[in-house]
């Protein structure tokens, strides 16, 4: 099912298909006409995706068929050895972790994982972690530090799960601890927001030296729906909230929240997952290579400074 703003594109694509089969059946030469339509299609796609509203980008970030954490893991990394469990409470399927090879080095991978279908979505709790997932991530941070391997995290979650067990088991405590633990890493850490960067549940594994984001991914303090429910008292005002929250990749780059925006194939990552994954791979390769020569303490310090700086405020003395 196409997203609403994808309909004109799909319509035009259908028209081109029709014309092609008509030309073939009737053995008429419509090549010229088809070429013209294809040019128009290309322009339509570029235009549509350049002009997407923030709310529409939220739809792209959540689109079915968009590559998930495990898709990246399997396409970008070799020899993946999944590691399970938090050694405390359980093994959270909403976070997949392990060791893998990437660009000639071992990396420790922490990937939030939504389902690729309904069954997997239920198994993965729609990518919403319990405390156990963050404890598993922290175990990976420890492992990375112990053996000196870089950390790659892939962020894609609506948020940490809001449930009874999650609260009982200290959801806030593990998020805070994970933020601290990741900030203290003495190895390179790169995070990529590949879909939804949902609030504290995303930041918990996002305290990296370099924070990358895909062009149509989002990263926000609150979901547009919840924000709308609070400020407009109506979740249906989510489009307004999305606009106000400035949660797109370009917005976040302007706010220095992310360091680099990775372009998606025209039409969005869900239209060409392989191309999207290649782009992420290329960006990751560059970032990890750039960090490889830094010494452990410098890496920690740089990460500390990066997050220490974030925020905008007014010096009142200067104003007065």
């Amino acid at each position: 099912m196409p997203l609403p703003f994808e309909r004109p594109i799909e319509d035009l694509e259908a028209k081109i298909r029709d014309m092609r089969s008509y030309a073939a059946e009737q053995r008429i030469d419509l090549d010229e006409e088809i070429r013209l339509l294809e040019t128009r299609l290309e322009r339509l796609k570029v235009q549509t995706f350049a002009d997407l509203s923030r709310w529409e980008r939220v739809q792209v970030a959540r689109a079915p068929g968009r590559p998930t954490g495990l898709d990246y893991v399997h396409s970008l990394f070799g020899g993946f050895q999944e590691l399970h469990g938090d050694r405390t409470l359980g093994d959270d399927p909403a976070v997949v972790t392990g060791l893998a090879r990437f660009d000639g080095r071992t990396v420790v991978v922490v990937a939030q994982q939504k389902g690729r279908d309904t069954k997997e979505n239920i198994h993965r709790n729609f990518g919403m972690s319990h405390p156990s997932g963050y404890r598993k991530a922290m175990r990976m941070f420890d492992l990375a530090d112990r053996f000196g391997h870089p950390v790659v995290t892939l962020i894609d979650t609506p948020g940490a799960y809001p449930g009874i067990a999650a609260e009982e088991q200290g959801q806030a405590w593990v998020i805070a601890e994970s933020i601290r633990r990741m900030s203290r890493l003495r190895v390179p850490a790169v995070s990529v927001v590949i879909g939804e960067g949902g609030s504290g549940g995303a930041l918990a594994i996002g305290v990296a030296n370099r924070v990358l984001i895909l062009e149509n991914a989002t990263y926000s303090v609150i979901s547009p729906e919840s924000c709308a429910a609070i400020l407009w008292r109506d979740a249906a005002e989510a489009p307004k909230a999305a606009e106000a929250l400035k949660l797109t990749a370009r917005d976040l780059a302007e706010l220095d929240v992310v360091d680099r925006v990775i372009e998606e194939p025209i039409g969005g990552a869900h239209k060409d997952p392989a191309a999207a994954m290649r782009s992420v791979g290329a960006a990751l390769r560059e970032e990890l290579a750039a960090l490889a020569s830094e010494d452990p303490e410098a890496l920690r310090r740089a990460r500390h400074d990066r997050f220490r700086r974030l925020g905008r405020y007014v010096e009142l003395d200067a104003v007065a």
Binding site: P162, I164, A176, I179, G200, I230, L310, G311, V314
Partner: protein, 301 residues
């Protein structure tokens, strides 16, 4: 992030307001006794009848902790910007102006130096009556600066938290304050200076998920609501009633998340004693005198 109902345009629920101003009498929300408001204020915002802990204005909190005349304000020179040009039904700067005037400070926090029974500390106190104590760039920056200055001046850090969570109007920048406040605590750890947090009603969302729960010791006030996701969010998610006492301080103590639940009258002595112990100094008489009345488990008042 926890729902921040304190940003709703109108109808703030009664308990969101400072209980002290306007009207002479109050009906206790816990025991229904008629309380003379002056008595409530005089009793550090405890119901004189049942001991119920009311939310406390920032200045009263500082007065209840800092040794007399010892408090020196640090915060106040930073004010909120409007990085998103945020506008819901009202522009963010306009909303801020109103709250600033009401609360008499530029944002939802007061920090400064003080002594607690002669123990030098940096005090960070969140103002829940200022936009629900929500944490934006100013709150995060003030906390970070207080933590760093505490480390420089060889002071312990004490944070009294009360917050609806991260401030939506500053978007992802508010979210980043979780990381900023966290990394700013490192200087204390490196210098072996204690950081003790005290979670008061309510402490939720992004504040709970960052510096509030990173104390070397974590105390909470009786019956304080402490959570990541608020009770209503959870109820909407699971469509079930929540267990009695869920997300309250006593519940979290049982779940292993707190070092203790400390009633307000014992808070200053408990803080001073804990800080002195952590710093390897002998507790002073005032701390030990309070200790005698303590039971092993914090009594709920």
């Amino acid at each position: 992030m926890a729902l921040e109902r304190w940003f709703r345009r109108s109808r703030p629920t009664r308990s969101d307001d400072d209980p002290s101003p306007a009207g002479l009498w109050l009906k206790c929300e816990a025991c229904s006794a008629q309380i003379y408001k002056k008595d409530l204020v005089a009793a550090a915002y405890l119901c004189p009848e049942c001991g119920h802990h009311y939310r406390m204005p920032v200045e009263a909190r500082i007065a209840s902790l800092a040794d007399e005349g010892s408090f020196e304000r640090w915060s106040g020179r930073l004010g909120p910007a409007d990085p998103l040009a945020f506008h819901d039904t009202e522009a963010y700067p306009d909303r801020m102006k109103r709250v600033q005037e009401k609360q008499g400070r530029p944002d939802a926090i007061l920090t400064g130096a003080a002594t607690l029974h002669d123990e030098p500390v940096a005090l960070v106190v969140m103002d829940f009556f200022f936009a629900g104590g929500s944490m934006g760039s100013v709150v995060g920056e003030e906390i970070a600066r207080a933590a760093e200055r505490a480390a420089d001046e060889d002071r312990s850090l004490v944070a009294i938290t009360a917050s609806g969570g991260a401030r939506m109007q500053e978007g992802a920048l508010s979210l980043m304050q979780l990381a900023k406040t966290t990394v700013a605590l490192e200087g204390l750890a490196e210098r072996r200076l204690p950081y003790v947090s005290v979670l008061t009603d309510p402490t939720t969302g992004g504040v709970t998920a960052s510096f509030a729960t990173l104390g070397d010791l974590i105390f909470a006030e009786p019956r304080a609501l402490i959570c990541f996701a608020g009770p209503r969010v959870i109820q909407q998610t699971i469509k079930q009633d929540l267990p009695e006492g869920f997300q309250r301080a006593e519940f979290l103590l049982k779940k292993g998340m707190l070092d203790d639940v400390v009633p307000r009258p014992r808070l200053k002595a408990t803080l001073a004693r804990s800080l002195r112990l952590l710093r390897g100094r002998a507790p002073v008489a005032a701390d030990l005198a309070e200790e005698e009345v303590e039971s092993t488990h914090a009594a709920s008042v």
